[in-house]
């Protein structure tokens, strides 16, 4: 009888502890990516709240995709410049990142700080990136967040000399993704 109760308890504890199948995939449909440019002339910030990301927990791979025209700016004119003159979102509508989370343990609960290494493609330019990310795995699922800096010139973005003072050479990018289980 004791054995039966013990087996039952172990089975129950294992079942209740497993919120996500760690061999499967998780998806964030409403990931947030924001950027900030600071110069003495003006600060420019924008955010995109519908960034898609999928993590393959078995392969420890992460993919991120976002629509460049879905960034929200404080001023319509900033959005217009961003889409039409700099990012050319009609020609390059998406930015994509595909990479691997190094030493990621999908089973571990709590917080992990890991490096993600992969290829970021924006404005038709692909660049290898290594970014430090914070992964939190709790009852609500996985949350991945981080910050990195990128240079405007690396992505072949032309800024007219007259506007060069308004846009920082290095842009700070923040991201946060809340994942839920995903079936293909």
């Amino acid at each position: 009888m004791v054995r039966i109760i013990a087996v039952f308890l172990i089975a129950f504890l294992n079942f209740s502890d497993t919120d996500t199948d760690t061999d499967g995939k998780v998806i964030a449909r409403q990931g947030k990516v924001s950027f900030f440019s600071h110069t003495s002339v003006e600060d420019i910030k924008a955010e995109n709240n519908q960034v898609l990301s999928v993590i393959d927990l078995k392969k420890k791979e992460i993919a991120v995709s976002m629509l460049m025209n879905a960034f929200i700016f404080e001023k319509a004119l900033m959005r217009e410049h961003f889409n039409e003159s700099y990012i050319e979102s009609d020609i390059y509508p998406k930015a994509v990142f595909e990479g691997e989370i190094i030493d990621f343990d999908p089973v571990a609960k709590g917080e992990q700080t890991r490096m993600v290494k992969g290829l970021f493609t924006m404005h038709g330019v692909s660049k290898e990136l290594e970014i430090k990310i914070r992964i939190v795995n709790d009852v609500s699922g996985y949350v991945v967040s981080g910050t990195f800096e990128t240079l405007v010139k690396d992505y072949n973005i032309n800024i007219p000399p007259l506007l060069a003072g308004n846009i920082a050479k290095s842009i700070s990018i923040d991201f946060r993704f809340e994942y839920e289980p995903y079936e293909d």
Binding site: R29, V41, N49, L67, A76, D90, L162
Partner: protein, 169 residues
């Protein structure tokens, strides 16, 4: 007087060269042909007004309540047409009718997810306009709604911004 760099931006829009700017300022500062400087002032005022209209009052950047949608779709139609790349404008105001799958405030944004009858799990994600802060939470899962918004494109789901609820059933 705005900072010099702001003037630089403005004059870039006007199509003036730096030498033109200096010459024009000379008219103001040192005095010159009054008629020419008046014309210049008028052009400047008109240009500032235009920039304000473009920058501050772009209807597609704000409230779409009074904007007529170019078309009305069901969720399934919209996802299907977006996937076949028929819809990539990014500035088209459309209306979509469907069943509410989820109402959430992820990232502090009022968002409504509409579901269709696609075989895979794809939604229309409606990022609600800030003027919908009372309307959006009153919408419940399972409601049939008609939502108007700016169609941005598709990733896995169709994305619409500045959305307003037109009708709830």
């Amino acid at each position: 007087m705005p900072p010099k760099s702001s003037w630089g931006v403005l004059f870039a829009y006007l199509g003036y060269k730096k030498s033109d700017i200096n010459t024009s300022f000379d008219y103001f500062i040192k005095g010159g042909n009054m008629r020419r400087s008046s014309l210049f002032s008028c052009a400047l005022v008109l240009m500032i007004a235009m920039l304000c209209i473009l920058g501050c009052n772009d209807p597609l950047n704000g409230d779409l309540t009074s904007v007529q949608p170019s078309n009305v779709y069901t969720v399934t139609q919209l996802i299907s047409e977006s996937r076949s790349a028929k819809k990539t404008d990014g500035q088209e105001v459309i209306a979509v009718k469907g069943t509410v799958h989820e109402v959430n405030t992820v990232n502090g944004r009022n968002t409504i997810l509409l579901k269709g009858d696609m075989a895979d799990e794809a939604f229309v994600i409606c990022d609600m306009n800030t003027n919908q802060s009372t309307t959006a939470p009153s919408v419940k899962r399972g409601d049939s709604v008609l939502i108007k918004g700016l169609l941005k494109g598709i990733l896995k789901d169709v994305i619409m911004l500045n959305c307003v609820v037109v009708k709830t059933e």
